[in-house]
């Protein structure tokens, strides 16, 4: 019988240095992952604990005197309206610009344009706010008058239009400029990754360039476009400074061209410095609501993406 000496088995001797590096790296990765979860959990915990007094307080003590729900739902709607306006304007423009950069423009123009779009993301939001309040609102006020006169039968364009132009629509337009670079640069990256194989398959069938884009580029990029739009939505929902400066806030109004409406983030920013007692809890509870909305939006986005996984090309 062959005698096996375990101590001299060359397979059992490990190479010390390589293993140590492995352990350090996996430890570092694990720590980083846990840290993110811990921070997220900490923030959520803080929000919930601080918000509870607002939820349980008697209705009369909450700002407005009607309870927390009555306080929060108009500004939730205001937030959603502003974000929706931003996305409705920004998404088609961003996809168009991204397609132009990735598939139409000559290479030198494309890279230049890409830089300019990325530069839009580098402008601080307070500058956007100042631009919106001092310039855009004034310039756009006549257009609102025109909308009120000609499309006034639509509830969203009901007159009289705000003379200052500081409306939720202006805020939405400013937000759309702010989310444009996010959606554009992500979509552009996705479009550039379209497999040449699929583009050529479409062209070889006799597709024009636009048909090739519809056939190969957009379907391939759809999950990416959805993620990009959701990231933009996240920015639009949470944007504070621009809305606080641009919007002359007030009660919930159906008309987008009158002053009124308010968003959660701007409400918190404008009121937090002077708040005390239960008012602080109310504002933090509003923050918790915003957190839940953003979380929900992201989960819906994930769900949409996974629903089409079978057709995504990843398999």
């Amino acid at each position: 019988m062959l005698k096996v000496d375990v101590t001299t088995n060359s397979l059992t001797t490990s190479q010390g240095a390589g293993r140590a590096g492995d352990k350090v790296f996996s430890g570092a990765a694990l720590t980083a992952g846990c840290l993110i979860l811990a921070v997220l959990f900490g923030v959520a915990l803080f929000l919930v604990v601080q918000a509870i007094p607002a939820f349980v307080a008697p209705a009369a003590d909450i700002q407005g005197g009607q309870g927390f729900i009555a306080y929060i739902w108009p500004i939730v709607l205001g937030t959603l309206i502003a974000a929706l306006i931003a996305l409705v304007i920004a998404t088609p423009v961003a996809i168009g610009v991204a397609l132009f950069i990735s598939h139409y423009a000559p290479r030198r123009l494309a890279s230049g344009l890409g830089y300019v779009i990325d530069l839009l993301a580098a402008i601080p939001s307070v500058v956007y706010g100042a631009w919106g309040a001092a310039f855009l609102a004034k310039e756009i006020a006549p257009a609102y008058d025109w909308l009120a006169n000609n499309l006034g039968w639509l509830p969203i364009f009901q007159g009289p239009a705000s003379a200052t132009g500081k409306t939720i629509l202006t805020a939405g337009i400013v937000l759309s400029v702010m989310v444009l670079p996010i959606i554009t640069s992500l979509s552009r990256e996705i479009f550039l990754q379209t497999p040449k194989l699929h583009e050529e398959a479409a062209l070889a069938l006799g597709a024009t360039r636009w048909e090739m884009i519809k056939m190969a580029v957009l379907p391939f990029g759809r999950p990416g476009i959805i993620s990009a739009v959701m990231l933009g939505l996240g920015r639009a929902l949470g944007e504070t400074m621009a809305v606080a400066l641009v919007l002359s806030s007030g009660v919930l109004t159906a008309s987008l061209i009158q002053s009124g409406n308010q968003t959660i983030a701007a409400e918190i920013a404008l009121n937090f410095p002077e708040a005390s007692g239960l008012k602080v809890n109310t504002l933090i509870a509003a923050g918790l609501v915003l957190f839940v909305i953003t979380l929900g939006v992201n989960m819906v986005a994930r769900w949409i993406i996974t629903k089409h996984k079978e057709f995504s090309g990843a398999n």
């Binding site: 050529e200 069938l205 006799g206």
Partner: protein, 259 residues
């Protein structure tokens, strides 16, 4: 439903680099023509000039004439999109659209240019094309499933079905079996034999046995050295090329002495 191709003095460029020089070749209708030659000799590049796919790459261009039944593909005012509906192409790697079902993949080319067809016509066309590609029996119960879920050989036959659904005059195949296993290869080769009853087929292959098995005529391309343009060395009946070639280089290549 098939046309012949005559190529006159064709030079193919990538930017300033001359990739293929001075090709003259006459490809008969309703036949299978194989292009063989060592890697980099320009046979795939030349194939892509036959449906104007070459110029999709930036800086790529050609000089000379390619006549499809007498009509110059590179004549003034000729739309490459029209050319490609007449001359279909199957690629080296199977490339069904991953976001489309099997059915939609077959119909992809037909639905272009906003052409509308009724559901009944579409169903009939899907069945006819898939039968034509010897794939119908394997996929008839899962037409709504994604094409990317098929095996490699099935995907390649799906691509052939997609190409013949638009009823082209000519089908170009760029090493259609190089990513397939032997059984799938056999299925595609059988299919090529059937396709030549209706279409003009041009196939690029690295596999000389395959060229010998499927083609009526064979063109041998070669390159003098790195950086030199590829040239058409010899073009004759497949049996002549493999048994009694006129050129020394052809004989060396088909007998396996180089390449």
């Amino acid at each position: 439903m098939s046309k012949r191709i005559d190529v006159k003095d064709l030079n193919v460029y990538y930017g300033n680099f001359l990739a293929v020089e001075g090709v003259n070749i006459n490809i008969e209708a309703k036949s299978v023509t194989a292009f063989i030659g060592p890697s980099g000799c320009g046979k795939s590049t030349f194939l892509r000039t036959l449906n104007r796919m070459h110029e999709v790459l930036p800086g790529a261009r050609v000089e000379g004439e390619v006549l499809l039944d007498g009509d110059n593909l590179y004549g003034p005012g000729v739309d490459p999109v029209t050319v490609r509906t007449q001359v279909g192409m199957v690629f080296q790697r199977p490339n069904p659209f991953p976001t489309m079902s099997i059915r939609d993949n077959v119909l992809a080319g037909v639905k272009l240019n906003n052409k509308k067809i009724s559901k009944g016509e579409a169903d009939a066309l899907v069945e006819k094309s898939l039968r034509g590609a010897n794939l119908w029996n394997e996929v008839k119960d899962r037409l709504e499933k994604p094409g990317s879920g098929l095996s490699g050989g099935q995907q390649q036959r799906l691509c052939i079905a997609r190409a013949i659904a638009v009823e082209p005059q000519v089908i170009l195949m760029d090493e259609p079996c190089s990513a397939l296993d032997p059984i799938s290869t056999l299925a595609v080769e059988d299919l090529i034999n059937e396709l030549k009853d209706q279409y003009t087929v041009v196939i690029v292959t690295h596999n000389m046995q395959q060229a010998a098995r499927v083609s009526d005529r064979t063109a041998f391309f070669n390159i003098a050295g790195t950086g030199k343009p590829g040239k058409l060395i010899e073009f004759a009946d497949t049996t002549t090329i493999f048994n009694n070639p006129a050129q020394k280089a052809t004989e060396d290549y088909v007998s396996g002495r180089f390449g």
